[in-house]
């Protein structure tokens, strides 16, 4: 079953009297467990599409089915709830709360969830997540005491705390050097294969996109092509030498 289905999504921004079409009828579907890279030059509309997919914005026209639910017409509050339960976000600049320990950063989304966990339960869950991203010994460290890669891993743990089926990553390696980038991407692959989390990455770096099993290239508001990346170092685990 398709986790995400877009049907002729359009997005037009109104700049005074001029309307600027950014997405011109996007249709695509993403199945559960896919690792998708969304690429394209700047201004191609990939960020806008990402925002719509991430329920941060709603399309001007078209249908968006997420996990069997039409979400394009939801109110801001309903979208917030949806983001909390079903979507995780990883950003280029980590966006961790300064002067706040890693474990509190990770537990933060829980305070907006409907689950109403106690303080102790929330910390336990956050610690579990940090162990999973390999930061078991950094629970009480503040972001300023962590390296870039570690910070991004804290951000990933935070994105996963509510056990969402979909993870969005917006240029996840943009602020990282090549070695830590590799670490983070490998973590994405592991999460994808081991936990079956659907991951959608926005990137303009072909090397990063190469880690994906499927690459959607966009240009000028339409999908240019949608295929497995060609000539890449790693495709699926089964293809690896």
């Amino acid at each position: 079953m398709d986790l995400i289905t877009l049907r002729s999504i359009e997005k037009t921004y109104q700049m005074g009297d001029i309307s600027v079409p950014v997405l011109k009828g996007i249709s695509l579907s993403i199945r559960q467990g896919e690792l998708v890279a969304l690429t394209g030059s700047s201004g191609s509309g990939k960020s806008t599409l990402m925002n719509i997919l991430g329920c941060l914005d709603h399309p001007t026209a078209g249908e968006y089915w997420l996990d069997g639910q039409e979400v394009s017409k939801l109110s801001a509050d309903e979208r917030a709830l949806l983001r909390n339960r079903k979507l995780g976000f990883v950003f280029q600049s980590f966006n961790l709360l300064a002067r706040t320990s890693a474990i509190e950063n990770v537990a933060m989304p829980l305070s907006y969830s409907a689950e109403n966990l106690s303080e102790r339960q929330a910390r336990e869950r956050a610690a579990e997540m940090l162990v999973r991203v390999g930061l078991a010994d950094r629970l009480e460290h503040h972001p300023s005491q962590l390296s870039g890669g570690q910070q991004q891993r804290v951000a990933i743990a935070r994105a996963l705390i509510n056990r969402p089926p979909v993870l969005f990553a917006d240029e996840p390696t943009g602020n990282l050097d090549s070695r830590t980038s590799e670490e983070v991407l490998q973590m994405f692959e592991r999460l994808n294969t081991e936990d079956g989390i659907t991951i959608i990455m926005v990137t303009h770096d072909p090397k990063v996109a190469g880690h994906a099993k499927r690459m959607i290239r966009m240009d000028d508001g339409v999908i240019l092509d949608d295929a497995a990346p060609a000539g890449t170092s790693s495709k699926t685990p089964g293809d690896a030498p």
Binding site: G54, L56, A80, L97, R99, S111, Y112
Partner: protein, 455 residues
């Protein structure tokens, strides 16, 4: 649970930037501190002012006998003779709103000491309670006469400052003897100077003595002649009273034999000129008037529809001054308090606005992970309220300390006011909500996409 989580989040957010939180609070600390100090010092000043006005007699009620009339001819206020010292005791005993009451008889005659003489404005025969009623208990010299002196009719007196000046030329009169109508009085005390009252009457030109002494020794039988009208009023039958003006007249109208048989009336020994009663406070004056009226009507056996045989007068002018002054002080303090709290509140709003701008990305992130607009609103609102309440608590300590310092160093009267403290807490929370609302609302309206992209 939800509220607790929000409060915890707010505390954490504030702890992340303690310097900014402290500076923000400073406005409220100073505001609330100023309010508390102002209220306490103001309340002290107001109380002192009230006391001063009260000492002028604002709480005093004067009860005088009513008007006697005969054949359509009225004889003026004070011409009936039904007010007794026992009435005064009954008023004190039975009226809860009356602090103290003193019977009074008046005389006006010559006072002689050595080769000097003087006619004081008034010679008052009264009880020691008079000094309390008039707020005059502290004497300049000597001691007041006692209830025993009143019972025994002892010849002792207290002089006002004007008499000391006129008769003794400033030498201490305590222990000396003066003569009033050829009766010697031992001076046992000197009143503190009080000056003229509002009518220009020199209140220091007065001699105070036990009322029994004045009544029976000084005025004595001559009272009957001192007021011709009352003689005429009550003795209309006795035509001989004109022949023997000093004869003791009958105090009561003639009663029929049936009346006397049904309702034998004990003999009254004395009537007095007035009773002065002090109400507990200016607020209780009206109540005291009611209670005294009831007691006197009952004691004088006045039936429902019959008019009073006495008048009760209060110092309406003084009372009005008192309440006006108090209201003025209260409003002044309130205005100052409001201004300082508004200034503090604007400070909070400013910093919260800066804080919202500075934390735009955090807000965007919180929204991305599922915070709704109202969650953000609540978080910032709670932060503002926490800041204000903390500031309020510090302000209370600061203000109270300040007012204590003023009390100790400047010797100003200060009154701790729990009401002011409670108000300050409520108002500081209110300021937090009112001035925290706009920044919080602004934060809650941010677009998560814009907020996340904000540099």
């Amino acid at each position: 649970m939800r509220v607790y989580t929000t409060a915890r989040t707010a505390f954490r957010a504030l702890r992340r930037n303690p310097m900014r939180a402290m500076l923000t609070t400073l406005g409220i600390v100073i505001g609330v501190g100023a309010v508390i100090a102002m209220m306490e010092i103001g309340a002290g000043a107001s109380a002192a002012l009230k006391k001063t006005i009260a000492s002028m007699g604002a709480n005093v009620l004067v009860i005088r006998p009513g008007t006697a009339s005969s054949g359509g001819v009225s004889f003026g206020a004070g011409s009936t003779t039904t007010l007794t010292p026992e009435d005064s005791q009954a008023i004190l005993r039975e009226c809860p709103s009356v602090r103290n009451a003193a019977p009074m008889v008046r005389a006006r005659t010559q006072v002689v000491y050595g080769n000097r003489n003087w006619v004081p404005n008034a010679i008052y025969g009264t009880t020691p309670a008079y000094l309390d009623v008039q707020d005059w208990s502290i004497l300049a010299e000597g001691e007041p006469f006692t209830d025993r002196d009143v019972l025994n009719g002892n010849r002792v007196c207290i002089l006002g400052q004007s008499l000391v000046r006129e008769l003794f030329e400033g030498v201490s009169p305590v222990g000396r003897e003066i003569r009033i109508k050829n009766i010697t009085f031992k001076v046992i005390g000197v009143l503190t100077p009080k000056g003229a009252n509002m009518m220009g009457f020199d209140q220091d030109d007065v001699v105070l003595a036990p009322w029994t002494t004045i009544k029976y020794r000084v005025t004595g039988a001559s009272l009957a002649t001192s007021n011709q009208s009352s003689t005429a009023a009550t003795d209309s039958v006795n035509t001989l009273s004109n022949l023997y003006p000093t004869a003791q007249r009958s105090l009561y109208p003639e009663r029929s034999s049936v009346q006397q048989a049904n309702n034998p009336m004990p003999v009254r020994f004395a009537n007095i000129d007035q009773i002065m009663a002090a109400a507990n406070s200016s607020a209780e004056i009206a109540m005291a008037i009611d209670q005294i009226g009831g007691v006197l009507r009952e004691r004088h056996r006045i039936r429902g529809e019959e008019p009073d045989d006495f008048n009760i007068r209060d110092m309406a002018e003084l009372t009005k001054t008192l309440s006006t002054t108090t209201a003025l002080m209260t409003n002044l303090l309130l205005a100052v308090a409001m201004i300082s709290l508004v200034v503090g509140g604007v400070g909070i709003m400013n910093i919260m606005l800066v804080s919202v701008t500075e934390r735009t990305r955090e807000i965007g992130l919180r929204m991305a992970v599922g915070a709704r607009g109202r969650d953000i609103l609540r978080q910032f609102l709670v932060e503002a309220v926490v800041l204000c309440l903390t500031g309020g608590a510090m302000g209370i300590v600061l203000g109270h300390g300040g007012s204590l310092l003023v009390q100790v160093l400047l010797k100003w009267p200060v009154e701790t006011s729990p009401a002011a403290i409670a108000t300050a807490v409520l108002v500081s929370a209110g300021v937090g909500i009112i001035f925290g609302f706009y920044p919080a609302w602004k934060a809650s309206r941010l677009d998560p996409i814009e907020a996340l992209r904000y540099e």
